[in-house]
């Protein structure tokens, strides 16, 4: 009895970590853009959906999964850089809310584009991992969950290496913290901001492609995931990459456990629980778990 309960609990934790890994990737994308420009990119989820559709199309044309995945990441990176250069840079100096409203325009536009090209019907996306269970110490885990967790971890570690161990990462961080002085020491700030969008689009693509096999691929696929990513980013602190990852994993596990063991909430109020997390954190501790409170001169 207890063993069965424990095994059930562990399964929920692991599958929570898998969805949490996806939230963490998208949250990390949001945080990278927010840190460098102070903007919340509402189109992040729809950009990820577009990437997933691109990957699906390549696979549909007979590509093997991993080459298609790599090509999708490259295309997404290029797309993110282009998007920043074409539509964000011209109004970069303007009011923040203007840029936010523009990203909402992008959200709507990408959603329409996906629907136009691929139609509204859900598509089956055959992922690289089988859904067969694997038994570890009497507990059955899904290979897909473990695979998604592994991919998310690799992506996060690569990002961390890039940001903290390379010269380019130093430039990215410097441009985010103090653009004016970075320019004075010779960092190409505009290029860094575009690179930030490229990296964010790429992380989003990983999230989108990893989410597609379990969610079914359709134009609105990432809409709810975006809300979970918001919750993860807010929980961890909008300016903290570590916070986004921890927040995402924490949220994934929390939502799974609450959904399983609190029957009144169940699956139906999963989104509402994420919203409660957002509102609760914003009202009680706006800087989140890992963020630093923004000081403002009145």
């Amino acid at each position: 009895m207890i063993v069965a309960a424990f095994s059930d609990f562990m399964q929920q934790v692991v599958s929570g970590l898998a969805s949490g890994g996806i939230y963490a990737l998208l949250a990390l994308a949001l945080v990278i853009i927010h840190r460098s420009t102070g903007v919340i990119n509402f189109a992040q989820g729809e950009m990820a959906t577009l990437s997933a559709f691109v990957c699906w199309t390549l696979v549909d044309h007979g590509w093997a999964f991993w080459p298609a995945f790599a090509a999708t990441l490259a295309l997404s990176f290029a797309g993110g850089v282009t998007l920043q250069a074409v539509v964000i840079r011209p109004i970069q100096a303007g009011p923040l809310l203007g840029i936010v409203i523009l990203t909402i325009g992008l959200l709507i536009a990408f959603n329409g584009l996906d629907t136009w090209i691929w139609g509204g019907a859900a598509k089956q996306f055959q992922g690289p991992f089988s859904t067969a269970p694997i038994r570890v110490g009497g507990v059955a885990f899904s290979k897909q969950d473990l695979g998604v967790i592994a991919v998310a971890l690799v992506a996060v570690v690569l990002m961390w290496l890039l940001f903290s161990k390379t010269r380019l990462g130093l430039g990215l961080r410097a441009a985010a913290v103090n653009p004016v002085e970075s320019r004075l020491v010779g960092i190409r700030v505009a290029a860094m901001l575009a690179l930030g969008w490229g990296l964010a689009a790429m992380l989003g693509a990983v999230a989108g492609v990893m989410a597609a096999p379990s969610l079914f691929l359709e134009p609105n696929m990432m809409q709810t995931v975006l809300l979970y990513a918001f919750a993860a980013a807010v929980l961890g602190g909008m300016d903290s990459p570590i916070g986004a990852v921890v927040g995402g994993l924490l949220l994934g596990v929390l939502l799974n456990l609450v959904g399983t063991y609190v029957h009144w909430i169940g699956g139906e109020l999963r989104l509402a629980t994420a919203l409660a997390v957002i509102l609760g954190v914003l009202l009680i501790r706006p800087s989140g778990l890992f963020g630093r409170a923004a000081l403002r001169r009145a």
Partner: protein, 324 residues
Amino acid sequence: MRVKLSAFALGALVLVVLPFVLTDFRTVQLATVGAYFIAILGLDVLTGHSGQISLGHGAFMAVGAYTTAILMANHGVRDLWTIPIAAGVAGVIGLLAGVPALRLSGLYLALATFGIAVVLPTILKKFDHFTGGSTGITLFGKPTQTGHGVGVWGLTNNQWLYALTWTVGGVVFLIAWWLLDSRFGRSLRAIRDSELAAVASGVNRAKYKVLAFGVSAAFAGVAGALLAINVAYVAPDTFPIQLSLYLLVGAVVGFFGSIWGAVFGALLIQFLPDIVGLIPHVDTKQAGPTTLFFGLVLVVLMLVLPIVLRAASKLANRSYFGAQ
């Protein structure tokens, strides 16, 4: 002032004449435009004048629509009388939402209201004993409550809906005009342009920001009530996140900060599918192209508006110096 009064009179005249020259189908479409018009007015009070962004105004419309639907379907109230009640309920909820909103900066308010709009349909489905769940509430077959205008002054049912919506729309417009021209509106704009300066000049920041939320939500509630009466049906999917985002597009198209543009935004929301359908080889039976163009309109406007405004202020400056 005289120009504005004439514009209002002209607009009213056009609205009175339109149903006599248009088909019944267009008339009922214009009734829906009236509901969007009122909701955009509400959004304009909140975002355009008090500077608080809402990406979730569809939620307040849903509150109004469900108030009307529940009162009509379960309590036998006539449609007309549900409109002020819907305004009241949505307004009170707006005031309550306005208090925590005081603590959120612009970016986070956008995030929170977006979240509310995304989550709302799932909550409506969960509390199904109250809201009818996914099936929603039907208001068909209540001839004593709806469509009681049929036969009155020779109006068809659709003409009656049109007349009702735009009469309410006209009244709400006058209220908005009066409010924004009064101390209330001036205080809102002072807060929007500089909270610090406004507070230093004695404007009660909290009071006016919360009031703006209440007024704005009450308008949206009226819009929702009218939408429910027009389509005689409400369901959770009547109020998806897209509705809230389209209202924002409408408000931006209608030039934030001026209630006179709201009608253009409302027309765009209703008729963009028809406009996009004019493009050769584009099939608007599928939602994709229209949605894409909604987004593009917003993106292009956000890119172009700053340039237009800068050019306009340059022109204004030049004429100012010219006068010297």
